[in-house]
Symmetry: C2
Subunit: 369 residues, 2 copies
């Protein structure tokens, strides 16, 4: 399969500038710059207009830019020239009068610095122009995400096969990271969460020193990153000992909430409607106050991308979107259960990209439980 067509992506963005009311756009969000150019470093901005495309960076990246973006013009500053000054010079030269900037990726301080250098150039806030394009993945991106899912799934296979009562959460995390790398991942897609018992009740816990044998509940939230920068994001709970009725009940409620929510995903459906399906099932089972976060999110070059599934989201599913569905129930001090899969919105419904078994019986690690 041929690689991404950066030039086509930029053309789509340029076509949206007119309705955004600007002559040119300054891109400062790292993932947006990567999406539009293929450049994998940081501290590097992209200026776009129908007449001119230019990367603004510094000497640290001069050679890397030649390798990664051979077709693009590059303006390289050294340590004696601040970014705002370099940017103002190229914008002036490109004769852009109304310059859009990314309000989500420019701090108030950086905007102040730009305004001080821009003279008569008008700086116009824009929001989500590139993120909107990134919501719908193209064929090449979908292959990257499928690869990231596969790396993650093979990785968890190694973890499950090697689980031992005396492993710490950290041991499990490092085993998982090494396994995913052995299957071609550049690394984990984010810091893997490995939580035993009460730690599993913290939705965003750091892997610590609890032992697998400290509780029958082990939660792992993990994903891989491909060398091309695309991610996967999955969660499974493993039962590694004798469990309580409540643990089984919570697991089955979460799984039902997840499966019903997934079943509702198709083009034209509102994200918050899917969130509501899962949230209602959990509330009806009496656990409403133990599920506070949103149901899921888009992902790709970043682990959290547009779209969002939450009670507040009025976004609508379109074919080509890829989202997590990850309801959870967290009982503070006791344990937590979250089940998370990666879902592609297709033309007439959806496809579950991840296939790690998720039934209650599958969660029981026989040789430990």
């Amino acid at each position: 399969m041929s690689g991404p067509n950066y030039s086509a992506r930029r053309s789509r963005l340029i076509r949206s500038l007119k309705s955004a009311g600007v002559d040119g756009l300054l891109l400062t969000g790292e993932a947006n710059v990567r999406y539009l150019t293929g450049f994998t470093g940081d501290s590097t901005w992209l200026m776009l207009s129908s007449a001119k495309t230019l990367i603004i960076s510094d000497t640290r990246y001069a050679t890397q830019l030649k390798d990664e973006c051979p077709d693009l013009d590059v303006d390289i500053r050294d340590a004696s020239c601040p970014m705002a000054e370099a940017t103002a010079a190229v914008v002036r030269k490109a004769k852009i009068g109304r310059l859009g900037f990314e309000a989500d990726h420019v701090s108030v301080a950086v905007l102040g610095g730009l305004q001080a250098k821009m003279d008569v150039i008008e700086l116009i806030p824009t929001s989500g122009l590139t993120e909107k394009l990134r919501e719908v993945k193209d064929k090449w991106e979908l292959q990257q995400i499928r690869d990231a899912v596969e790396m993650a799934e093979r990785g968890i296979g190694v973890v499950r096969a090697s689980l031992r009562p005396q492993q710490t959460e950290k041991d499990v995390r490092y085993t998982l990271e090494a396994a995913m790398r052995s299957f071609g991942a550049s690394g984990p897609g984010f810091e893997p969460i490995v939580g035993v018992g009460p730690t599993a009740a913290l939705p965003h816990a750091h892997a610590g020193d609890l032992l697998v044998s400290d509780s029958p509940v082990l939660l792992i939230d993990w994903g891989a990153e491909t060398p091309s920068g695309y991610r996967s994001d999955l969660t499974r709970v493993f039962f590694t000992g004798r469990i309580t009725k409540q643990m089984q009940n919570v697991y089955e409620v979460v799984l039902k909430a997840q499966q019903k929510a997934i079943a509702a995903i198709k083009p034209g459906v509102r994200c918050r409607a899917v969130d509501k399906i899962a949230r209602s099932i959990i509330a009806d089972a009496g656990f409403g106050k133990y599920f506070g976060h949103g149901l899921g999110h888009g992902f790709g070059l970043e682990i959290h991308e547009s779209v969002r599934m939450s009670p507040l989201s009025d976004q609508v599913f379109e074919p080509g979107m890829v989202v997590t569905v990850e309801p959870g129930i967290y009982l503070p001090g006791k344990f937590g259960v979250r089940i998370e899969d990666d879902i592609l919105v297709t033309r007439d419904g959806h496809e579950v990209l991840s296939s790690v078994p998720r039934e209650f019986d599958d969660a029981i690690v026989e040789y430990l439980a």
Copy 2:
């Protein structure tokens, strides 16, 4: 040694509010919030005034906040309440009229969201109030940084002892990360740079698939992170084969630039004066255009912190500051040399915290070269 005194840190910050012209301060920078509270998660803000201290977070972190910040009041929102709304409510309740915010850590979009909810509350940009406090490390922080340096140094010892011609840059990176973790690091302090030959000429390269045997020059830029979140940052070049006269010359120029710059560090000296010492030595040797980045930077909870050593910096050294000194010469397509150590500014001069040998002869890996 007793742990950090978060309450004293907050008191120092509160005392600075008056001269900043605000009644209260909203902290949104992740490392600043951690420095002032000990909280290790994200998406969590801190509101401070002389009358009230409050953390604003969401349900994902409710339990973790109780564990990590047991003395602080916490406002927990769920997925149906946006952050700006929760924040406006607590600021209103605290009767703050002029609320400072961190212009470096609030995007233009987030500021817009806050303004829409804040009614009569005036939002005043501030810059660097907490970063200024963080420039000077306290006794506890210095011990964390010494630990991070030691973890990094023991890690590179393992790498050097196990170097083989057929290792890839990635192999070396993963060996280093695992070794640092085995010595107690929570992980690397940043993505380690491991560059062979031409890759070493990219100041911010990703470790790739070149073999150690592909060039006699191997550059490693690495550091450890302690479980408490403090980092180290070092660079060494190893000669793993027969080198050219130019390689030796470049190495010696960089080392001389580094040593002369370090020698000049003491309280009262301007950062840019130290930058100039190194830059002049490199320029005089004819390599001026091959050293484009700043000479060094502060570090601690983040890998890049105030102060900065660059031609633009008018900051002045004070006792308790910790900085890198890392000149480099990068010959595109050929090789690069950077030598980096971690320096503590003392009352009457400086102390070099890192002790990995750095003389030319030390750089030669005997059993390979």
